[in-house]
Symmetry: C2
Subunit: 578 residues, 2 copies
């Protein structure tokens, strides 16, 4: 019976693009997307995506596996690209809008993007990036040699909401590339919604290319298959419990792992996408009130924004019914913060993931049995990264040397490894990187953690962040959590500082909420006392540095490498003085 | 980038068996299953399934793609077989317990079952079936030639709750097959939970074999792949909104499309399976109260049972919190019935499906906008079969001749066709049947329907020859064939007769060869006895009408529509008399 053959009816390539086709058929008149005064139905979104796909093919000569790059905030065109680009047989490459022109250029070059869609808000950045591409400027100088074959066709997304763009600026003039349709709506208009589009033959074909923000080395181009994107989409909807008729607020950039696959997920559920250009608290609260938002994802930093405005807005939220479900990534939010946010009408679930896992890989699934536990125990449970999403076949914590599983005792530390069909295909043009990322049938996350007896995984440290002091492993995350437990700490980062006796010792960098310098001085004492009260002595940082703000990458990650350098320099001072 | 290779970490064969592995890791101490006073955790269920798999391989020599048949109600062994059998690399074949011995034998023969697990409640049936297998009895007589190579190894599931089994009955003696472990718990005990089990290499491999009840001719063996079962499981959980910590009552037989995949689904969600041997109203209400059931599936006939006891039980249900979610198949329940059932604390969603689609294929997804419509309009909307589940790539209604889509106007009638990776691989040893089931990249359901402008599909007519009695499909053709098998029947036609308890029941119209009225009276008795001997009890017509000649069209076709009208009228008499 294993010889019953596959046929076109019972073996259909898995692709999240099928969700849009279905949405157009069964949710045709339901609102697919709202953005300021623009609003589309699923029928319209489908038609626009078909137009986009057709225009990309017929007008811009995009063909199978060509890369289409997009540099845009969460606007309709960005959403439509998630379907229109793969419907053309092409690969969607969304670019982080916080990158600098040189980096954008390097991504366009590396991906060999054929088309470059950019929002008018980022016209300067886009044009500068294209200019970088037009020159051989690897070293920042030299003779300009146009290499037009590698220049993507620029398409600007014009939008009156993009803000005042300095049109006079010389950098506003796009490179001259002939008379092609260069405006997004023109492209849509040029498309034929009834044109035949290529059928997907193989679900292993690429659908998206997402560059990591490169906290360690150069950005890597993570390639998703249609299969991985499909499976991840279904399993995240299920895991997060996204029910019928969701109203999803785009507070998470779509350029982050395709919005953790909820771009495609909203089509699967026939939900409504609420697009906002800026992730600002007033815009978020307004959108929640106007559209009765049910779900949103965001980085934990957004909670701070929400809390700042919270006092005024909570009354407004009061009669809006059930809380907004919030899925957040990155470090688990401190318990105190969570509590405040929940009071404002947000119910927070946190997840752990990475670009290579098409977004969230573990989710801290709450258990009803925990409801009756004391608050501090709940906080500890909530701080864990959790259990694997259903699209992963397995997660484990292994000794990186022997690749044997560590004891499931919440103590034995090892590397978190993943396995499953929602993982990336690999890194574009980086065989070494791809090879290093996988070992013995597992994907290596590079993060260090434990497995608790109940199967929940907890990160003990990003690999590089383990501080080894006098033979003891200190988790910087753990020390940071103590600092975040103090009401007046807004940012905390702990790194290793060389120490002549202990080898390494923790060094803390803190930013306070208090802007008043006199008050700050008083606070410092209080914070250090709090720290000593709340952690073992050996974990207490030997040095604490207060800064107005910690240095961050374009994606908002704290630049620990910079802090490590500072810690090394401080170490010299510190020891020569002491 | 399409050349990034698959590797064992990022391309893992999709299989619902992985859900059990995960459940054992992350829901280890949660209750997996309760049955009377028996209760297991997910850790225990996993261990028992591993034992079963290992014992099937090492003790019973089961190897890849061998069929293991199970004849049992919803007891723990039946649940465990859903994982243990595929974990052994074998194919699970669950058999409808309402079939007669001859049919069971024919299924065992057709599937070449290697092992035959049966519950002691069905020991007689199982032994009779094995006896049929031991003879060459295709014609019901002839020389007995033992064909031991084709006899499956019998394993009895002993259970004190199976009821008083007449041990003295000669049919209780199992055929002699040597000293193998013949009791299920012995088999479990003989298994080694740490034995290595074969890894699934190809998700297209078969996981289950489910025989249709034979809507056209002989029962067909529908083969599911691991892939189709996995996708169906995920998408049904999502579509029905099965959230965290579900408590699932087994009121639907697991032998129906593997319990519409919720056997596997409960492992995916770490839910609790509440097993009951008999689908009786007191047992259902008791289970709901004792275990705080959240979800159950059933045939619409079960609603009648619930309503009978409802008056007494509703008070008891009153303080049990949220309503029980009920997914039901078959014909949409009448609005009046639904209303009554909802009042008893059940929230009903109805689905449409078939064995070939791994269970529900369409689901009547309710829209909040419909809440405000008048009752009769709501009832009309609720009566529609609905929209495709997410594991299907597409559903359509097509002109069976031209295979072009009909207008989506709620009026144009065509055949309902499906496409997607949750569909069956095909029919076992039935190339003609498989070929006929698929056409031009679609699976033909054989059901006739329309598409409404909002994309919802509604059945207008079952392929007219199916009678749905108590959730079981009865093929009129099959029943007619039995009548035609009697030497004195000249014409036979079987149609559906409305029945207050079973929904529908077969009604037979017969014309005899004998013209002598006295002889005819004697023949009638003989024919009904012949009928009861040769078909499962539930297929036997509740009403048989003898006529000198059946009404026919000018071209000589029996006018079934006229007979249906007669059956409706007879039904009224029938019930007013009884």
């Amino acid at each position: 019976m294993d010889h019953l053959a596959k046929n076109p009816a019972n073996y259909v390539a898995l692709s999240p693009v099928t969700f849009l086709h279905r949405a157009a058929a069964v949710y045709a008149d339901r609102t697919s997307l709202v953005y300021n005064r623009t609003s589309f139905t699923w029928r319209e979104t489908y038609e626009r995506c078909r137009r986009l796909a057709s225009a990309l093919r017929s007008r811009l000569r995009v063909s199978k596996n060509d890369v289409v790059s997009v540099l845009a905030p969460n606007v309709p065109a960005m959403y439509e690209a998630h379907f229109g680009v793969p419907m053309a047989g092409a690969v969607l490459n969304t670019i982080n809008t916080r990158l600098d022109a040189r980096t954008v250029a390097s991504l366009l070059r590396h991906s060999e993007a054929k088309v470059f869609l950019f929002d008018s808000q980022f016209a300067s950045l886009a044009h500068d990036a294209l200019r970088h591409l037009l020159r051989e400027d690897q070293t920042g100088g030299g003779v300009i040699i146009p290499t037009t074959t590698n220049i993507p066709i620029p398409v600007v997304i014009e939008d009156p909401h993009a803000g005042a763009v300095p049109r006079a600026s010389h950098s506003q003039q796009p490179p001259q590339l002939g008379g092609l349709p260069l405006e997004y709506e023109e492209l849509i208009a040029a498309g034929d919604p009834s044109a035949e589009l290529p059928a997907l033959a193989d679900e292993w074909d690429p659908i998206a290319l997402n560059y990591t923000s490169g906290t360690t080395s150069a950005p890597k181009g993570v390639v998703y298959s249609h299969r991985s994107a499909y499976l991840s989409t279904l399993s995240l909807l299920l895991q997060w419990g996204v029910g019928m008729e969701p109203v999803y607020l785009w507070s998470l950039p779509m350029f982050h792992c395709n919005g953790w696959t909820f771009t495609w997920g909203m089509a699967a559920r026939g939900g409504t996408n609420v697009c906002i250009r800026h992730t600002l608290a007033p815009d978020i609260y307004r959108a929640i009130a106007d559209h009765r938002v049910t779900h949103m994802c965001c980085a934990p930093i957004v909670f701070n924004l929400l809390l700042l405005l919270g006092a005024e807005s909570s009354r407004r939220r009061g009669d809006l019914g059930p809380p907004v479900e919030v899925l957040t990534g990155g470090a688990p939010p401190p318990a105190a913060l969570l509590e405040k946010v929940q009071k404002l009408g947000f119910r927070v679930t946190h997840a752990y993931g990475m670009t290579e896992a098409t977004g969230p890989a573990l989710i801290c699934e709450w258990r009803s049995a925990w409801d009756s536990l004391p608050g501090d125990q709940q906080a500890r449970l909530r701080a864990r990264q959790g259990i694997s999403v259903l699209s992963l076949a397995d997660v484990d914590v292994k000794d990186a040397g022997t690749m044997s599983s560590v004891a499931r005792d919440g103590k034995a530390v090892g590397e978190i490894v993943l396995r499953g069909s929602s993982l990336m295909k690999g890194y574009l043009k980086n065989d070494t990187g791809t090879k290093e990322a996988f070992r013995d049938g597992w994907f290596l996350t590079g993060d260090v953690g434990v497995v608790h007896p109940d199967g929940y995984v907890e990160i003990k440290d990003r690999s590089k962040d383990v501080i080894i002091s006098g033979g003891e492993n200190i988790s910087s995350v753990e020390v940071e959590a103590v600092f975040y437990g103090h009401p007046n700490v807004s940012e905390a980062a702990v790194v290793a500082m060389p120490h002549p006796h202990w080898g390494e010792t923790p060094c803390a960098f803190l930013a306070l909420k208090t802007s008043d310098h006199v008050a700050a001085a008083l606070e410092e004492e209080e914070i250090l006392a709090h720290c000593r009260r709340n952690m073992p002595h050996f974990m207490v940082p030997k040095k604490v540095v207060f800064m107005p703000e910690l240095p961050k990458t374009s994606t908002g990650k704290i630049q620990k490498n910079k802090l490590r350098e500072m810690a090394r320099e401080l170490s010299i001072d510190f020891h020569s003085n002491s």
